[in-house]
Structures are given as C-alpha cells and as structure tokens.
Symmetry: C2
Subunit: 367 residues, 2 copies
DNA sequence: GTGAAAGCGCTAACAC
DNA sequence: GTGTTAGCGCTTTCAC
C-alpha cells in the first residue's frame, strides 16, 4: 500500500496539468516531502508547527516548501477537517450604499478572525437569493451572513439547520437576527419634524426596503402624528418602486408639486432622501426653508457638506461587528444560543431640516 | 475493496458530526445512493445529467436527493476536478467609492459565468495585499482580479505563473492589465479648464492613488499647461496623505487660502474633488464662480445634483466587464494570449466648472 | 521522531 | 446501464 502512496504524487495528474495554468501546477505536500527527503506527515507537521520534531528537520522542510512556493490546498484540508474558513455573505444590492458600506465593514472583521468572505448578491431577482444561498451551502461555508434579506423565508429555514445563519438589518422569525429598533427610529425622525413645528409631514418609502422594516417605521410615524393631534394622510405615504428611477422621480414631483404639499418628509433611506432633495431643487423648493427632509441610515454620502442630510443613523459599524462576532461564536460553538439583538438608531442633525414655514417666516439660514 | 467503500460512508464521521452544526451534517452522495438504492456513480451521473441511464432511475435518485436536501460538496468536486469555480478579487479599500462601485459591477458578471467571488481587501497595510493573495492561492481560485493594486509587484509575479492574474485600473509590468488612458484623462481635464480661461490651475492628488496613475495624469497636466504658455508651479501640485483626513483638509485650506490662489483645480479623484468642494464652501469660496473643480472617476456620488461634479469619467462598467471577460477567457483557455487593454476616459460636464474669474467678471449662473 | 495507512466527498475510467 | 475502483491533496491516528 505504501507503493500506492508513492505513485499518488504522479499519475494521471500530469495530463490534467498540461491544459491548466499558463505556468505550472502548484506543488503538493508530496513534492515538498520528496525535496526535503521526508514523508508527507512530517511536512504537514512542520507546516502546522505541530508534533515534536528535530528543529533541523523542520527548517529543512520549511526551506523546501519555500523553494517550491508551496501553499496548502485549502480545499483538501477543509475536506478532511470537515470545516471551512469561509463565511458566506448574501447582499441584496451592492449598488445600494447602505449594503455596500455594511459589506465594507464586514470584510476586515471577517479577515481578522482568519476567515475569508465569499460574497454573492441577489440583485433584483428574488430567485437569485435562493440560488446564491444554495451555492454557499455547496461551498460548505462555515456560516452565512445575510444583509437586508428580502426573499423567501423558507430558503433560510432549509439552510439554518445545517449552518449558522445570521441576518443583519432584517428581522425574521428565523435565525439569529441583528437589526436596529425601527420603531424607535421612526419615532426619532418624526418627533424631530414635529418639534420643528411641522404639521404636514409625508412618509416616503421604497419597495426595496423589507416590508417589516417599512411597516415598523411607518407605524411609528403615524402614531407620533396622531399623538400630536394630527391625522396621517394616506396620499402622503408613498412606497416608491425600487426598479424605476424615473417613476420614483415622477411620484416625488407629484407629491411636492401639489399646492397643498407637505412641509416636511421623512424618508425611509438616505438615498430616497437625497432623491427628494434633488427633486426639490428641480422644483425650486428650498431645503430646508420650504421643505425639511430627514433620511434614514446615515450613509457616508449623507455627511458630505453639500448634502448635509439630517438623518436617523443606523450604527453600521456596530451592526457589522455584532454580525461577525455572532457568526464566529456560532462557528466555534454551534450550541451557543443567541437571541436576536437590537441596537439603537440615533438622530443626526444636519442641514436639511428647519422650522416649519408657517411658524418661522424668516428662514433659518442654511449652512 | 468494495467493503472499504461501503464503510467509508460511515465511520468516524459521526463522531465529528456530533460537535458540528446546530442541526445535522449535510447528506453525502452516499446517503442519497443508499436511499435511492443505487451506487454512488449513478447518483453522480444523475445529478450531472451525464451518461445514459433509465429515466426512471434518474427520477428516483433526484427525488432521494431532494428529500435529503442533498447539495454537492463543491470542495470535494473541485479537488478531483482540479479546478474551482471561484474567482478571487483583491480590492484595496471598499470604503473608496470607486473600488466599491467596481466591485459592485464585478459580482453579477462573475456570477453570470457560473463563478463565485471570494473577496479580500488589503486595507492600508501593504503586507495585507500579499497575504490576501496568498490566501486566494491556497483556495486555488480559478483567477485573481486585482483592483487598484498598490503593493509589491513581486507578489503578483510569484502567483502569475500558476493562475491568471488580471489587474484593473493598474498598469504594471506584470499580468494582463486593464486600465484607462491616464494621459488622455489628464489632458481632457486640464484642457477643459484651460479652455474656460483658467491660468492658475492646481493639481491635487492623493497618496492612495497608484504612483504610475498619478504620474501619468500629472505629466499630462504639466504638458498641457506648458503648451498653453504657462509654467506649472510646484506649490500647486499636492499629493495629500491618504491616511489622515484632517491633514488633507489642512493642506487643501492652505492651498485655497493664499491670496494668490489657483482659480481652478484638477483633482485626481472625485473623492478628492468633493473634499475640495467642502473646503471651498467652508472658506466661503463659491464653486464654480471663484473656484472651478474637476474630478476624476465619475463615481455615483458625482452625479447627484447637489454635487454635480464635472469630472473625467472612468468607464467603470466597461472596466469590470473587460476584467471579468478576460479572466473567464483565461480560465477556459490558459493559453489565450492577451495584451493590456486600455479604455478611454471621457469628460463629463456638470456644474463645478465655469469661466475663470478674471475673464468673465459676471459669473455664469450655476444650476 | 518518523512513516504508513485510512479516509474526507466526489468524479471518471473501466469493467461487468 | 450500473457498480467497482482509484485517486484529488491533505490530516491524523497509530505503529515503529
């Protein structure tokens, strides 16, 4: 049987290698062993700094590995060890700044734990979310992090019993979820506008936002309005189509063009808020003198001085940190039991909100 | 020997499984075979729709696989097939909008070819770039896509002989590279400012930009200036530190505060241009009446109406498309020989540039 | 200390 | 058509 092992280093492999990379095939542990004049086991031990061996032997093995440019084959190692050092991330849309920023935070955190990130996007297609997850399962990722999940719950259910699934920014019945307190966020934004004296406040959402998120924020908005003695108007609650920018623009214009228009709007995301700002500018409405706008998320763009958007901030870094830490904890001990976590959003005052026009006739100078 | 095969389905595996996922371990091809009452090969064939088999058998196998929730183990398959369906992407910094947007384009393109994206960032650390690449090699990715490489050339050399390496937005002596014509870009931006009558034009760069890129653009800028009978002033050529925002701000203020300040600045990136806009705003300088600014990249942020940055656009989608297509071509046939590709940048006129103050005293109305 | 042997889950050549 | 077998590159007992 030992002769089999000897042969295994060569064999049909050369034939396959012929059609491969422009250069050569990467050396295997066997090649290193041969060069160093030891057995495979010794090489494996030397590389992992395991077992007790003559320091001189170790040095020789390491030198041989170096000379050949040897790199362990992660796939082979994973196969025998029954685990991978890869974490799968599913994100709806990387063109959405919020998702992109969350992802940007995720990568270094994952890397810091010695893992790699296999990233898939679902795009607009709902089916894609399922197949993205399937693919991650096939790669036997150690855990799956899902950002702003919008798809079918059952997909997660099927996977969740095999590997840890952590949802960030989405609160579903399944899996550990990490999100913000959307009701609080809804209150924060609405209260701010109310305090500035606004009585005509619109709520503008986007179909790309998960339903539950939208509902929580909108209900808080309505509740705050009623508490202030106002009755929420249905025509001022928009849910714009995520697919078509021009449709969104048209609907926003319609909202802002009425003679009886709102004096303030609470947007479901910073992107929506920024689109509103642009629309207001086109319509010749001054922000915040004639229209106050508060966003949600606090993406980087919101803080550039030319935009200076007042917004309800999601603690993006914190969400990412908790997500990764939860994932790692679950990978290291699958029996860790964790409850859904909720972090608090925070109102960030910048320059897109001001006193309601009817109250303060002389506008607060902007900037 | 067949008995060995039989045993291999069970064995010590259960012991290992015990400590694993919260649910169960994923079924193997063997489990499916047993449930369907066939051999492993038949299952393998059925799943890949290969070989000729009774349609009835295939249906039975597929049903069994479905029932068990079977998913092929990509790692095991890759091991025997000597290839992976994963493309590694190395990006300097996902917080940089240009890199983030390029990455956003990359993912769906990669997925469309049936591959997955293993994403690593190098961050500020130069060493990290090397270890990120090493890790990709260990995972035996089919190809490596490097975005805005800033590190040590030798790292790429060592890897390039084993797998295709494609650099996007970076032009090095090694590997296939896909970039824009930076000299043309430099000319475009400078010419535009010159045509508007500016005679005092600064060039502001950032140390995060690869040296060659910076040099090409700056040299074109100088050349254009000289051609217009001007002599480039050294004190108006800045290379701001990528690490410290406050240092950058201080240096920009210094540049713009001099009584003998430039009337226009050509920035090496949109982000730099936007920081300049903010600085000008703080200093009470009106853009573009008192200061014209042209950026470089055309990131999404540049087009939002509140910013409306005039800029030299990199065709991001095109760069991504070519990068992925080149990678795939190389994976499918390693002997494909490809030359470095260069695409053309394009000047996008928006609202941050206007006639030089000395020439047109009455300012061109902005917006 | 070192090496032989088994086996991770899968595919593909080759018998039957 | 279906089963058998070898083996991808690696780790890990377990003898020596």
């Amino acid at each position: 049987m030992s002769s089999v092992d000897q042969r295994s280093g060569r064999g049909r492999r050369d034939l396959q290698a012929a059609g491969r990379a422009p250069g050569s095939r990467l050396p295997t542990i066997f090649d290193v062993a041969r060069l160093a004049g030891v057995g495979k086991t010794t090489v494996s031990d030397a590389i992992q700094d395991r077992g007790r061996m003559a320091p001189e032997t170790r040095a020789r093995v390491l030198a041989a590995a170096e000379e050949l440019g040897y790199r362990v084959h992660a796939g082979a190692r994973n196969l025998i060890q029954q685990r991978t050092e890869v974490i799968g991330v599913v994100v709806g849309d990387l063109f959405d700044p919020f998702c992109a920023e969350l992802t940007a935070h995720l990568e270094p955190l994952i890397a810091a734990h010695g893992f790699r990130m296999l990233l898939t996007t679902a795009g607009a297609d709902l089916k894609a979310e399922g197949s993205a997850i399937t693919s991650l399962v096939e790669h036997r990722v150690a855990a799956i992090l899902v950002i702003s999940f919008t798809g079918d719950q059952s997909v997660l259910d099927a996977v969740g019993s095999h590997m840890p699934v952590i949802c960030i920014g989405y609160e579903g019945p399944y899996g550990v979820s990490i999100g913000i307190d959307d009701r609080l966020g809804g209150r924060l934004g609405t209260a701010h506008l109310l305090e500035l004296g606004h009585r005509h406040i619109a709520y503008v959402s986007n179909s790309g936002v998960p339903l539950k998120t939208d509902r929580d924020r909108r209900n808080s908005y309505r509740r705050m309005l009623r508490r202030a003695g106002l009755s929420p108007e249905r025509r001022w609650e928009l849910r714009l189509p995520a697919e078509s920018k021009s449709d969104r623009y048209a609907q926003m214009c319609e909202l802002l063009r009425e003679e009886d228009r709102p004096t303030a709007v609470f947007a479901v995301s910073d992107i929506t808020a920024i689109e509103l700002m642009a629309c207001a500018e086109d319509l010749g409405l001054h922000v915040p003198r004639e229209l106050s706008i508060v966003g949600f998320d606090d993406i980087m763009m919101a803080s550039v001085p030319m935009i200076a958007l007042t917004t309800v901030a999601q603690p993006i870094a914190e969400l990412a940190r908790r997500g990764v830490e939860t994932a790692i904890a679950l990978v290291e001990d699958p029996h860790t039991s964790l409850k859904p976590q909720r972090v608090e959003p925070q109102l960030i005052l910048r320059s897109t909100t001001g006193p309601a026009p009817s109250i303060a006739i002389e506008a607060r100078p902007r900037r």
